[in-house]
Amino acid sequence: MIPNEEEVYEALCLGHGKKQQEKFSRGNVVILGLGSLGSHIAVALARAGVGYLGHIHLVDFDGVELENIHCQHYDLANIGLEKTEVLKEQLKQINPYLEVKATFVKVSENNLGSLIKGMDVVIEAVDSPVQKSMIVDGFFTQKTPEQVLFAASGYAGLGDGNLIQTRMINQSFYLTGDGKSDFVKEKTLYASRVSLCAAAQAHAVLRYLIEKAP
């Protein structure tokens, strides 16, 4: 039998500390892109219990493909299904008491404003550099003073994992990655290195929720 909500929450408080858990639980987080980065980020945040009082919002427009399995948090049985729905189900398996919302849509200049509205934290986890640039631009055009963006650049290939770092560009913008490893040149992605980047991004979010979130 699955433990009840109170038992799960108590276990999280024991694992993370009560004060920390209260802050994680209140987090409102949107993850833009559920590929190699976003799928791993979502799992890390769900394990932390983000979304008890706030919620985790999953956004993507792709289905799971065979070519995703080597580096994304999906299984062969998920092929052909929408990433949003598969990942939502995975998060519910980790913690059925979290509020998880899923939206099957491609992030664009037109819908970015509505996707980030009301969110404390916006996570950029898309694959295309043009779209990354668009999301950063749209975020800083439309953000409220309290909102913070966590983006990533440079995590392809088999380079040194220790080169992946998170930098605070300013109070509203954190950037994770090695800044250089381009998929177009490297032509490969490894679950191990991509998860390092995803974990670093997720960890920066948790630290932010503890230290600075309103």
């Binding site: 550099p129 043009v130 990354k132 640039s133 560009i169 800044g179 998929f183 992605l189 991509v194």
Partner: protein
């Protein structure tokens, strides 16, 4: 006047806009974010923001993943 772009200093005879700076260095404006003295400059402001002596600019060029 001197500006710093991605940690390299550049001497200029007169002030230039961010638009001009991007063209001069050959950055692809579709793939970048411009940080001027720690603040993000949004794309619509590139033609309007002039760089002055002592400005520190970081141009982040995003690379793809998956």
């Amino acid at each position: 006047m001197t500006i710093t772009v991605n940690e390299k200093s550049e001497s200029l005879e007169e002030s230039i806009t961010i638009d001009t700076m991007i063209e001069y260095y050959g950055f692809d404006p579709r793939k970048i974010a411009v940080v001027l003295n720690k603040e993000i400059v949004i794309k619509s402001m590139y033609p309007n923001v002039s760089l002055g002596d002592g400005d520190i600019i970081e141009v982040i060029t995003f690379v793809g993943g998956g």
